[in-house]
């Protein structure tokens, strides 16, 4: 049976992990390769690296990091953050990334999704969508959720699917950082509507939230950062919990 995926997300700046991590066994809390290896050994099903480096020349560091990660770990990983051109994607895939994720670039130039899917195959193109509810209506936001667009989230999700995205990473900015649970309503709506997998992000605070997002939220995968980094929820405990709760999970 196809299992639900648990995906830790690592924020990367200039080739180093940012935001605190709290693993006693880490020698260097900023080393993404070491952290990736620990997550992989603990049973993470996939990893996401989100690059928040601002400058272009620092992005070379990202490709080098991707190669190091690809050499060290044997589970799939996605790289996102600031990717906007075919050339960006080529560099990262050649460096060893399995998938890339695009966000603002797709909003500004939707055609880029078609071009990337045609060039590299849908299976490696993840489109990240940041959504926020404004007076009860869900709108796509960019710039880390700060800037509203006129795109309705549901319509945009359908459009990126039609344009050839392989997966959607849906982050609810209303839930992100709250630890109050995923935005199951809109997740369920979008997941039921689309033929491609939906990765839920934003709001994970306890183990029951993961059960909820896989049942009520109909998500195919769930992503979280700080609760994993600070070991509030160790991945092995989360997976045994979900297994006991009847969620199909990789053991």
């Amino acid at each position: 049976m196809l299992t639900k995926r648990i995906i830790p997300c690592l924020d990367i700046k200039d080739g180093r992990t940012v935001k605190g991590v709290n693993f006693v066994e880490l020698r260097d809390a900023g080393d993404p390769v070491e952290l990736a290896k620990i997550y992989s050994d603990e049973g993470a099903d996939e990893l996401v690296f989100l690059d928040i480096t601002a400058t272009v020349d620092k992005r070379k560091t990202l490709a080098e990091l991707v190669t190091k990660v690809a050499k060290a770990i044997n589970i799939p990983f996605t790289v996102g953050g600031g990717i906007s051109t075919i050339e960006d994607v080529k560099v990262l895939l050649n460096a060893g990334a399995d998938k890339i994720s695009i966000n603002s670039a797709a909003v500004h130039n939707p055609q880029i999704i078609n071009e990337m899917a045609a060039e590299f195959g849908s299976q490696c193109i993840v489109v990240a969508i940041d959504t926020r509810s404004v007076d009860g209506i869900d709108f796509v936001h960019t710039h880390g959720g700060r800037k509203a667009t006129l795109l309705r989230t549901q319509a945009w999700a359908q459009e990126v699917c039609d344009r050839g995205a392989g997966e959607i990473l849906l982050t609810s900015m209303d839930h992100d950082g709250t630890k109050a649970g995923f935005s199951n309503e809109i997740l369920a709506e979008i997941s039921s509507m689309l033929s491609i997998p939906v990765i839920a992000s934003g709001g994970a605070g306890n183990m029951a939230h993961f059960k909820d997002v896989f049942t009520f939220g109909k998500a195919d995968a769930a992503l979280a950062a700080s609760i994993f980094h600070f070991k509030e929820i160790p991945i092995p405990s989360l997976k045994s919990y979900l297994d006991r709760e009847g969620i199909s999970i990789r053991k």
Binding site: D45, N74, A95, G96, C124, G166, S195
Partner: protein, 198 residues
């Protein structure tokens, strides 16, 4: 021991090379017929689209070469599909090493089954085969695909998604796996190690 990884326009093969490197294997990415013939083992990776891949192989006579090889040969993902007889992906005649047809997943219910089949799923009905030696029961492997090979006498493991399909095939010196062993954690590593020790 020399491993040849067949080079063709098949997307990201880098992770296959890294996986072999982690196992200490001496692997080279090549489309040179002599180098492929001389290798102790051959790996045929792949991601991408069947008809484009077949055209590329034919243009370099790699289609004929692949069928003549006598050393252990492992097709991965699209590699498995191309070793079959025919693929529904753009109605493509494939290599025909396995007398098996490749079909597209048609979800009965799109809410329950999405296509592509992406993620970790179980290998079931494992045959007594050296490639499957010392694996845990119903091990999980990582899949990304929209087309599948039907069950056949050559099937040595199946996976269930919408229905059962051939997760792995074996005939003579030819082995194939639909999942990505290079991305399948310890199970994938064991599968590759088993192939290297054939």
């Amino acid at each position: 021991m020399k491993i040849a990884v067949i080079k063709y326009n098949s997307g990201n093969v880098q992770s296959v090379l890294y996986a072999l490197e982690r196992l200490g294997a001496d692997a080279v990415l090549t489309d040179d017929p002599d180098q492929i013939r001389a290798a102790d083992k051959v790996i045929f990776p792949g991601q991408g689209e069947a008809s484009t891949a077949m055209k590329y192989l034919k243009a370099r006579n790699l289609d004929t070469l692949i069928k003549e090889l006598k050393q252990p040969f492992l097709g991965v993902c699209l590699g498995l599909q191309l070793l079959c007889e025919h693929s529904e992906e753009n109605d493509t005649e494939c290599l025909g090493v396995f007398p098996v047809k490749v079909k597209k997943f048609i979800p009965e219910n799109s809410q329950e089954f999405k296509v592509p089949h992406v993620g970790w799923n179980e290998l079931e009905n494992l045959a007594d085969n050296p490639l499957l030696k010392d694996l845990p029961e119903n091990p999980f492997v990582y899949y990304v695909h929209s087309f599948y090979a039907e069950l056949a006498p050559e099937t040595i493991a199946s996976t269930h998604y919408i229905h059962d399909f051939s997760a792995m095939l074996h005939r003579d010196n030819y082995y194939a796996i639909q999942a990505h062993p290079e991305k399948s954690g310890l199970v994938g590593e064991k599968l590759l190690a088993n192939f290297l020790s054939l």
